[in-house]
Assembly symmetry: C2
Homo-oligomer: 147 residues x 2
Amino acid sequence: MPFQLTDESLSFFIEKCKRNKLKITPQRIVIYKELLKSTDHPHAEALHKRIKKIIPGISLDTVNRTLLTFAKIGIVKNVEGYGEPRRYDPKIEKHHHFRCIECNAIIDFEYKPYDDIIVPGDIQNRYFILNRKVLLEGYCDKCGKKR
Amino acid sequence: MPFQLTDESLSFFIEKCKRNKLKITPQRIVIYKELLKSTDHPHAEALHKRIKKIIPGISLDTVNRTLLTFAKIGIVKNVEGYGEPRRYDPKIEKHHHFRCIECNAIIDFEYKPYDDIIVPGDIQNRYFILNRKVLLEGYCDKCGKKR
DNA sequence: CTACTATATAGGAGTTAATCTTAATTGTCA
DNA sequence: TGACAATTAAGATTAACTCCTATATAGTAG
């Protein structure tokens, strides 16, 4: 079935914008619609290319800014690990990470039960899995105290 | 106890370099040592700053290039913070990701058992956990076939 | 120990993605 | 409808690499 923006998702969008005192502009509607029908987790530039077919004059900055705004009010998500400088870890033994969403600290921890966590059958069948990581996110002790 | 680069880790480093036909340069030794004693998953720029105290003339490009090389031969790891453009996900319901390490595709999947995965006690006690995600990595169907 | 060669490095130029600035425009609400 | 605060486009700026090239150096073969 072809994608269709339901009244439901549009009113969810409008509702959320209003609640956050964001104006409903044509740019925002189109950006939201376009991301909503994307399954490839696009970056701003890719989305901008698609959106220009609908609003030719739209600037890349607007797409960027709008996506950040959407992420802030929680109607879209930022895919973990992207949009940040590359970071390196000297620890090559199997381990997992806790990441503070405030100060961006990454803390290593080991926990055997996570190492061989069961992979769902359909994923196991379709893809060749080399690595399983658990990422816990929240506030670290320092940032948690401040709040 | 203060950090010390053991003979063991140095010979592991030398061994790995030789096996991969990499020259053992003073720059590489210092970069490896410096990353090895870092617990903050630094990015190249941060590491460059620390290393300049030891080799004042070292260029940022060398640090960058060397870290990538180290990651390629597997003596260090690239962690969240992949140095790639920010990507967005319209799916706000709880879900997890498979990521192809070849073509960088990200594929969503849902799997209830991951959603409330048990958090180790010491992590639970020290940090305020808001979110638990499992990241599976490997080759997608397309990239798997090519190999 | 010396000479050779393939690598690696420094430094600067070039890119790409993201962010900021400013002036013009446009939703929103009285 | 009008006023105003929010939003936009366009271009400048910044950040984080990445590429280029001339010089230097580690490994190794004699």
